[in-house]
């Protein structure tokens, strides 16, 4: 430039120029001289520029020089990137490509270079994750242990919402649930992000609808140009609308949005326009470029909880958990005790004769037992009483049956046969046996009826029959005689009357059974006197007794006599008193059972 300016200074002054114009200088060869003059003039006029141009041409063609020059300029250009977003934007893909190809060639150098950065970054991310996990854990603990939480559970149950939702609604200051990035003109949805757990209708349609509503409001209420709908509210939900030149950001907010939320939307719209201005302006339906706006939209999905969510002090936490533990313990213990009691009852049932448990069940603290019960067995419910269970918690369903245990067979026999006092019944291996002084009439009935009882094959009488007993009484009698004589003394009348009545009883007893008896009257003497005399004396004494007892004659009883002399003394002594007792007649009964008659 300086050279050019100097060149200009060489131009003749005004007066000279007029002189040139008025009288042109001599020219020996008009053409050649004109050309030479023109070249000279040119070199005078543009000579310096020419040199510049040549230098520039050398610069441009010499790669080394150009590189050197550009390398001077670049750092300054990068330093100015703040003022020019274009530079950063255009460099970004190059840098990305460079990194990608470097990693592809050998990831190690990059990994090494990044190592000092990655370590802390990863640690920070993990710390952050742990912190938010603890936060949410604490919150969960707090919320599950307060009265308020119980109330919320109740609300959730009542309204059919999830507990998490109720908690959120109650602790939420506000939450940005969805953010729409909408193409301003067409209402087409460019990007959409949703907070975790939030739900929404088809975002494309919502986006168009939002635009339609905004248009509707604008058209319907004659707002000025440049003014537009920027928020509307439905119940707890509000929509914040932030207009940019080409795109609109709409956020669906639950709860009371603070004023600074609008500011963050404002900033987001601006930064998205900065980032994607051209793409927005030339939008023709292709959404791919707008995924670049996603991080900015995600950043808008804030959830702000109320800080009045007061913390539960630890002592309360401890008390509540102690109560819960105690409750659990008590519940477990009661359950265990109930099971013990139930087991006890079942055990008793199993032990109790005449009860057979077929199946048991327990549901919701109630017990049911199905089984068989002999009508003679104990009432099963009475066994509950000792077990500790309440009677109304146990239901028994019992079918009647006849138990085969000896005691039940015996008891059924008692009920059927009504044995007379003194007679007892026993049952073993199909045989029902009676012992004790049974009347023959009863024995006959028993013999006939017993086999009708379940389990009884045979009836057996082990005790003395009535006839045997009467016989024994008869055989205990002694009719005493005076010394050397066979006549009946008046004082023996009582004994004889007894004998007669016993014989009558014997005859009755025998008749019932169809049996017969032979009663032998034996005449005895004392040891005094000769055998020749004593033999006939005994016979005479027997005859005397027989004579009396055979009137009236009794059916089934045959009286016979036998003189035995002193051979069978009542007592072996030899005193006078012994001798008195030995002068006597005795009775001996032989019963002939009907079977033996056959």
């Amino acid at each position: 430039m300086a050279e050019v300016a100097v060149g200009r200074d060489d131009v003749p002054a005004h007066g000279e120029a007029e002189r040139h114009a008025g009288a042109p200088p001599p020219d020996p060869t008009p053409d050649a001289s004109a050309e030479g003059q023109f070249a000279e003039l040119r070199s005078l006029l543009v000579g310096p520029e020419r040199r510049d141009l040549d230098a520039l041409r050398d610069h441009v063609h010499d790669g080394a020089v150009l590189t050197r020059e550009v390398s001077h300029v670049l750092p300054e250009a990068f330093a100015r990137r703040g003022q020019d977003p274009l530079l950063a934007r255009s460099l970004a893909p190059m840098v990305e490509d460079a990194i990608t190809s470097s990693v592809r060639r050998d990831p190690k150098p990059l990994a090494d270079a990044l190592f000092p950065v990655m370590g802390p970054a990863i640690r920070k991310a993990i710390e952050h994750m742990l912190a938010s996990m603890m936060e949410s854990f604490n919150r969960t603990v707090e919320q599950s242990l307060s009265w308020r939480a119980l109330r919320w559970r109740w609300t959730a149950w009542r309204t059919g919402r999830s507990f998490a939702e109720v908690v959120l609604l109650n602790t939420l200051k506000y939450r940005v649930e969805q953010v729409f990035l909408i193409h301003g003109e067409s209402g087409l949805l460019l990007q959409h992000v949703t907070a975790p757990g939030a739900t929404g209708q088809d975002a494309d349609q919502v986006s168009a609808m939002l635009t339609a509503i905004a248009d509707f409001v604008k058209d319907s209420f004659q707002v000025g140009s440049g003014e537009h709908l920027d928020a509307f509210r439905v119940g707890d939900l509000s929509v914040t609308v932030e207009q940019g030149p080409y795109a609109v950001l709409a956020g669906v907010v639950r709860g009371a949005a603070p004023p600074d939320l609008r500011q963050s939307f404002r900033e987001a719209v601006e930064s998205i326009h900065l980032l994607l201005g051209t793409e927005l302006k030339d939008y023709a339906g292709d959404n791919t470029p707008f995924s670049a706006a996603r991080p900015r939209l995600d950043a808008l999905l804030v959830t702000q909880l109320r800080d009045d969510a007061q913390r539960v002090p630890y002592w309360r936490w401890a008390i509540v958990s102690a109560l819960v533990l105690a409750g659990l313990g008590a519940w477990a213990f009661l359950g265990w005790r109930d099971r013990q009691r139930w087991a006890t009852y079942l055990d008793r049932l199993a032990r109790e004769p005449g009860l057979v448990v077929l199946s048991t069940a327990s549901t919701n603290g109630r017990y049911v037992v199905h089984g068989l019960r002999d009508p003679l067995a104990i009432e099963p419910a009475t066994l509950i009483d000792g077990s500790g269970l309440a009677r109304d918690r146990v239901e028994g369903v019992w079918e009647p049956f006849e138990a085969q245990q000896p005691e039940f067979v015996t008891r059924r026999a008692m009920a059927l046969l009504h044995p007379p006092p003194g007679v007892s019944l026993a049952y073993r291996d199909g045989v029902l046996s009676a012992t004790g002084p049974a009347s023959d009439r009863w024995l006959v009935d028993a013999e006939r009826l017993a086999p009708a009882l379940t389990g009884v094959l045979r009836f057996d009488y082990a005790g003395p029959t009535a006839a045997a007993q009467i016989s024994r009484k008869l055989e205990a009698l002694s009719i005493l005689f005076p010394k050397g004589h066979a006549e009946i003394l008046p004082e023996q009348t009582g004994t004889l009357t007894t004998a007669a009545s016993l014989l009558t009883q014997l005859a009755d007893a025998l008749r019932i059974r169809g049996a017969r008896a032979q009663v032998e009257v034996r005449g005895h003497t004392d040891s005094d006197g000769s055998d020749e005399a004593n033999g006939p004396l005994g016979t005479a004494r027997a005859d005397a007794v027989k004579r009396i007892l055979s009137v009236p004659p009794l059916d089934g009883i045959t009286l016979v006599t036998h003189g035995v002399g002193p051979a069978e003394p009542a007592t072996s002594g030899t005193t006078e008193h012994d001798k008195v007792l030995n002068r006597r007649a005795s009775l001996h009964v032989s019963i002939i059972e009907p079977e033996s008659l056959h």
């Binding site: 067409s186 209402g187 087409l188 349609q205 168009a208 339609a212 058209d219």
Partner: protein, 164 residues
């Protein structure tokens, strides 16, 4: 790729019926009367491209002046819907077309003469339609009742939008 399209036409020509024939709706019709538009969505595949059509069904009145043309902004295409049994609805459609071209100049469009199932009662004359065809218009005879030509109408418009 997504494209906004609109349905324009007089009252009762069958715009809503045509859309219902084509998509299954999530919004109830009540939006239509309050906000004046109902929005549906349908994905089609034309010329090797997936196109999500966002369909604005604009509530039509006999007096076309009352149709909010601002709803057309950003549309890549629109249908002009005519009721074949009422010649007057063709005039309405032509007037709407003029307004539409001011809002979205150069947007693709198709003229749908609807109620083709009632062709015996048509007032719209074939020669009129033929004249429009010679002007380069796409003209289809549709029936929302039988579904005739409905799919073709949407696919044709989608294709035309990709070409412009």
């Amino acid at each position: 790729m997504q494209k906004k399209i609109c349905l324009l036409g007089g009252f009762g020509v069958g715009k809503t019926s045509l859309v219902s024939r084509y998509v299954h709706s999530i919004f109830s019709d009540k939006y239509m009367t309050s906000v004046g538009v109902k929005i549906e969505k349908k994905s089609v595949h034309v010329k090797g491209t997936d196109v999500d059509l966002v369909i604005w069904d604009i509530y039509g009145q006999d007096d076309f002046q009352k149709v909010r043309m601002s709803y057309l902004r950003g549309a890549s295409g629109y249908f002009l819907v005519v009721d074949g049994t009422r010649a007057a609805t063709l005039d309405t459609a032509l007037a709407l077309h003029d307004s539409a071209q001011q809002v979205v100049p150069g947007a693709a469009f198709t003229l749908l003469v609807n109620k083709a199932d009632l062709v015996s009662q048509w007032e719209v004359r074939e020669d009129v339609l033929e004249r429009l065809r010679t002007k380069g218009w796409r003209v289809l005879k549709t029936s929302a009742k039988t579904g005739d030509e409905v799919d073709q109408a949407f696919l044709g418009l989608a294709r035309a939008m990709l070409e412009t």
